[in-house]
Amino acid sequence: MRKVLWVLLILLFVLTSLRNFAYASSDTAYQDYLYQFDLYRQTYTDFQVAKNEYQKFKSLESQTAALDKTRIMLVQRDNLLRAYLLLLNEKLNENRGMGASEKQLYQTLIRNEVTFLQNHAQLVPSLGSLADASSVSQQLESHYIILQKSMRQTIIGISVGNLGDVRRQFDQSVTMAQALINATRGIFTPQKQATMDRWLLQINNKRSLYQQKIDSINSTNASWDTNNLDEMNRKFLGLQQSIASAKQELQEGSSFLGELVNTLRYQD
């Protein structure tokens, strides 16, 4: 009996730990991202000091020091971007409202970018001069817009997925309310029954409006045809506003559902 209790206790502990681990994986990724950001700031400051000294003295010693600091900074820059992409990947893994195909699409985008950064970081140790360093840095600069697009697409995808989870709860509530109203036909007065049917119709209209907005967001998010960072930021903000508008439809639907439940609660 005692042994069984011990086994149950250990099993409970293991299950709890696994559950915490599953929930904490994006938190761990976020902490790692913050740590990499701190390291990047530090290495970038060292790089700037070394660069200024080289530009001031133009000596071989200052040139070598500047090349060393540039190498370290370039590697850390890749590490920072990769840590951020891994954070996005963890957020995708935890997203419960996103479909499997959509999730796979965004994860492919992230994987491609991570591969690019890994390859880019491998070029850095072989740098022999500051000119080589500038050339390798330019490879990232020319790829940066694509990287930023992938990041923003994924962020919008995660937001829509999270809202999709809320929408799933909305659908469940509406289905339950519909079933209850159908089951109670004949109990309420015909006028009250007609009112409840009309309210349910209005709630379904909110769901349709939500879906229209989400379809439009998905369509816009699928094609980012700009190569300008400012324009990209504007589009990103516009999409976030559209998501807020879609959320508003669900919020109004929630308020209508609350009224419907209160009507069902009372006889008159």
Partner: protein, 139 residues
């Protein structure tokens, strides 16, 4: 200048020394009638100072009368309503027969949970803002 003639002693009566003068009318003379009090009062009314005083008093009274006539009548006092001790009765609503069924309770819980989820949803996650980095090396 005329000389006074000496009169004869026979015809001339002995001179009586004149009586001393007394104050007051001399008896035998006609006494004018004394004015009555009413007449004195009427005489007094004819003095300009009294007339001016009367005019001022009448003027002031007229002013007061006009002022009173111009004033609007004050509205009748409205009684201040006092709150009654008894509260407004809340209508008692009859619960529907299936308000305690599991189906209804499940719906109530689902709607509450959904409302909480939709309220707590945030459009942008601040932890997901992309990093801002300086790209050109500047050599």
């Amino acid at each position: 200048m005329e000389e006074t003639k000496p009169s004869s002693p026979m015809t001339q009566a002995p001179q009586v020394p004149p009586a001393p003068m007394k104050s007051g009318p001399v008896s035998g003379q006609p006494v004018p009638p004394r004015p009555s009090k009413l007449e004195e009062l009427l005489d007094l009314l004819h003095t300009p100072w009294v007339i001016a005083a009367i005019v001022i008093v009448i003027g002031v009274m007229a002013l007061f009368a006009i002022r009173n006539a111009m004033q609007k009548p004050s509205p009748p006092a409205v009684p201040t309503p006092t709150p009654t001790a008894t509260p407004t009765p809340t209508p008692i609503r009859q619960r529907s027969p299936f308000a305690t069924t599991s189906a209804f309770l499940n719906l109530d819980t689902a709607v509450s949970s959904f409302s909480a989820s939709v309220k707590s949803y945030t459009t942008s996650d601040p932890s997901l803002s992309p990093p801002v980095i300086d790209l050109p090396l500047g050599f």
